[in-house]
């Protein structure tokens, strides 16, 4: 079953209550215009963090249950992620929900593209009846920590995929207190998997060609990371689209790795 949801199909099925569109754009953007019946997901509700931490954790099971309950999601609903700005933040939402074993799809185009096509939008915010949402599934093996990554640095059966820009990978710029990368990482800048003309991902043929070109094969375990786990999520979804079934995210990513004194950094 495809991860991507065809926007043409969604346009024709906006009243299908089995599908709930979750919009992860900013509140200002959502309030200005959104897909009818879609629900705004405040970004801070899918993360767990405190003022002193340099990284984000995935929200707890209880946080996700509370969020989806407030959004009136039924346990049988299929969730459809809608985003913009390349889809990295939306991918983080996708990964977070998939991690908790929920049925989730990705709208194939950005919200900007949706509007440019003249598809229905509204600024009306519907009043939603809360639901009592309980996650019954176990978490999926999609998440690893720094100790796990450290154990895989010299493992030929694993590929550490740094999805940041080449400049961040090479250490010429840094989005945190330290520059560099996790040793033995391979650079796969996430944006090369973004599709043309408002599509969140390249088509599957082009994605497969891309991964093949980078030597990313299905027989390996793939561990994606970036600075805070957003861009890595985009690559994670792209790999899932192509049928890679052993993909994980180091969700605290380099923001965590680079602030631990005892961990090696290469540049």
């Amino acid at each position: 079953m495809s991860i991507l949801l065809d926007s043409v199909w969604l346009k024709e099925n906006l009243n299908n209550t089995n599908f709930i569109v979750l919009d992860i754009r900013s509140p200002r953007e959502y309030n200005s215009a959104h897909i009818p019946n879609s629900r705004l997901v405040p970004y801070d509700k899918i993360l767990s963090f405190n003022d002193t931490a340099s990284y984000f954790d995935v929200a707890s099971k209880e946080q996700i249950e509370e969020l989806l309950g407030i959004l009136g999601v039924d346990i049988n609903s299929t969730l459809v992620i809608c985003g913009d700005r390349g889809g990295a933040t939306a991918s983080r939402l996708f990964w977070s929900l998939a991690y908790y074993g929920l049925s989730v799809k990705f709208l194939d185009i950005s919200f900007s593209k949706w509007t440019s096509l003249g598809y229905p939008v509204t600024d009306k915010v519907e009043i939603i009846d809360n639901s009592n949402f309980t996650i019954t599934q176990s978490t999926v093996d999609f998440k690893v920590d720094h100790e796990y990554v450290l154990s895989k640095i010299d493992d030929s059966n694993s590929i550490l995929l740094d999805t940041r820009s080449p400049e961040e990978f090479n250490g010429t710029i840094a989005a945190g207190p330290k520059s560099g990368r996790i040793p033995n990482s391979k650079n796969f800048p996430w944006e090369i998997a973004v599709g043309d003309d408002g599509y969140i991902f390249k088509n599957i043929e082009n994605l497969n060609t891309l991964f093949e070109k980078f030597g990313i094969t299905k027989d390996k375990e793939i561990i994606c990371y970036c600075q805070v786990g957003e861009k890595a999520s985009h690559t994670f979804v792209a790999l899932q689209i192509c049928g890679y079934n052993n993909v994980k995210i180091y969700d605290r990513s380099f923001a965590d790795w680079s602030t631990r004194d005892n961990l090696p950094i290469e540049s």
Partner: protein, 81 residues
């Protein structure tokens, strides 16, 4: 020589990682000691990334607050020693 302290605004709304951090660091390098940089972002990770990145250079975070739904202002006191 005493340099008069100034305040500069940097609007980074719409930018995503890593650009809010990169552009903030770049802007701080142009300022004098004691100047205050007011950064506006609407990308939540930037509220953690920016303080984390600039504090290691000795700059001081004066405040960081949500001024509107999903929009944050970070005030940074420059310290380019």
């Amino acid at each position: 020589m005493i340099t008069q302290q100034q305040s500069k605004k940097l609007d980074l709304v719409g930018q995503v990682c890593p650009w809010p951090v990169i552009n903030t660091v770049k802007e701080l390098k142009k300022l004098n000691d004691g100047d205050v940089l007011e950064v506006t972002v609407d990308h939540l990770p930037s509220t953690i990334n920016i303080p984390s990145a600039v504090k290691k250079d000795g700059h001081e975070i004066l405040s960081s607050e949500e001024i509107d739904e999903g929009v944050f202002k970070i005030f940074i006191k420059n310290n380019n020693n």
